[in-house]
């Protein structure tokens, strides 16, 4: 069976692409999916540290593309989960070391072996973005509720459409519902109104994300944190489940999601 190939992108840097990729990979793997995540940010790799796998790198994606190792040898297995693998980016090369057709070939080779291939795109709209997009069958655009991030998301959504990889789906990251209530943050409805694409997840601002990244333990490994729940919800939507979105009321949202996660029919 062919794998789903999902690219996580954003245009603007620092909105949470890598955190999203890592946590969706973890959430999917916790749901017994076989997942490989691929860092397409050549020269600025980070998916390895966010996943906590930085000490286990031997080969990287450029080694695979240039034939110095087999794909299998570059796949680092995350021992915390049954079937989660990382293919890291090269740190000392630049984006021109890999071409869009290299990415398509690599994903074709991986496709028969796993359920999901998650590709972490670099920021920007140049070669690295094109590489990350080349093999995708689904594109997730991550944005934050601020003007610069929403503007860049709009540009990226347009480029994804132009490459005939659309329609992209939107992840709103770092929503602060308290600020939304006070009228000091764009609400999800405002952003969807502007961008006019389908929403696939809302991730609340949550200090557990930073704390867990400090430890190299993606927040989704702790399915009681609010951000962790949000990533698990996105993972379930990617698997075809209908899961309601987090509402503005933080407490009721927290407990209802917790109930759904552990209750009958959950996860």
């Amino acid at each position: 069976m062919a794998a789903r190939i999902i690219t996580v992108t954003s245009g603007k840097g620092g909105v949470g692409k890598t955190t999203t990729t890592a946590n969706l990979a973890v959430a999917l793997a916790m749901a017994n999916q076989k997942v490989v995540c691929l860092d397409a940010d050549i020269g600025l790799r980070n998916l390895d540290v966010v996943l906590g796998l930085e000490n286990r790198i031997v080969y990287d994606v450029v080694d695979v593309v240039e034939g110095r190792c087999r794909v299998r040898q570059a796949m680092i297995r995350d021992k915390r989960l049954p079937e989660l693998y990382l293919i890291p980016a090269a740190q000392t090369r630049d984006k021109s070391a890999v071409s869009p057709s290299d990415m398509i070939r690599l994903c074709e080779e991986l496709s028969s072996e796993v359920d999901f291939i998650l590709i972490d795109s670099p920021a920007g709209i140049e070669r690295g973005f094109k590489n990350a997009l080349a093999a995708a069958d689904t594109v997730l655009v991550v944005t934050n509720p601020e003007v610069s991030a929403v503007r860049d998301a709009d540009r990226i959504i347009g480029l994804v459409e132009a490459e005939e990889k659309g329609p992209a789906k939107l992840i709103l990251n770092r929503m602060n519902f308290g600020m939304v209530k006070r009228g000091d943050m764009l609400a999800p409805e405002d952003i969807l109104d502007l961008l006019a694409i389908e929403l696939i997840g809302i991730v609340p601002e949550d200090e557990h994300v930073l704390i867990s990244t400090n430890r190299g333990m993606p927040v989704a490994l702790d399915p009681t944190s609010r951000a962790g729940i949000a990533f698990h919800n996105i993972s379930r939507r990617l698997q075809g489940e209908t899961v309601p979105f987090m509402d503005m009321d933080e407490k009721s949202s927290f407990f209802s999601k917790l109930g759904k996660l552990f209750g009958p029919g959950g996860n």
Binding site: E146, V147, V150, R151, D154, R155, I157, G158, E161, V180, R182, G183, D184, M185, L186, A187, D190, D193, L194, L195, A196, I197
Partner: protein
């Protein structure tokens, strides 16, 4: 928090509304590759051309950039003055 008295008195709009309004215009510019001043200039030139053929009152003409999903649409509402038949 600081601005709530201003808000109650209606002096300052909520910051998220300002963000949304600003984004609306920026996205139109980005999607059409037209700046606000180019858009104004286009409207003025359109008016001149239209006026060459029909009698219009420039103050009643509305030429707008509308957004429909992810598509931009230029729409115009141009009331024509009734034709005065000359003898």
């Amino acid at each position: 928090m600081a601005g709530w008295i201003d808000r109650l008195s209606g002096r300052q709009p909520q910051s998220k509304d300002q963000a949304k309004e600003r984004l609306k215009l920026v996205l139109i510019n980005d999607r059409t590759d037209l700046t606000t001043s180019q858009l104004e200039q286009m409207k003025n030139e359109l008016l001149v051309v239209i006026a060459r053929y029909v009698d219009i009152d420039p103050d009643t003409v509305r030429i707008m950039m509308e957004t429909d999903g992810r598509e931009q649409r230029l729409t115009a509402e141009i009331p024509l003055k009734p034709i005065r038949h000359r003898r």
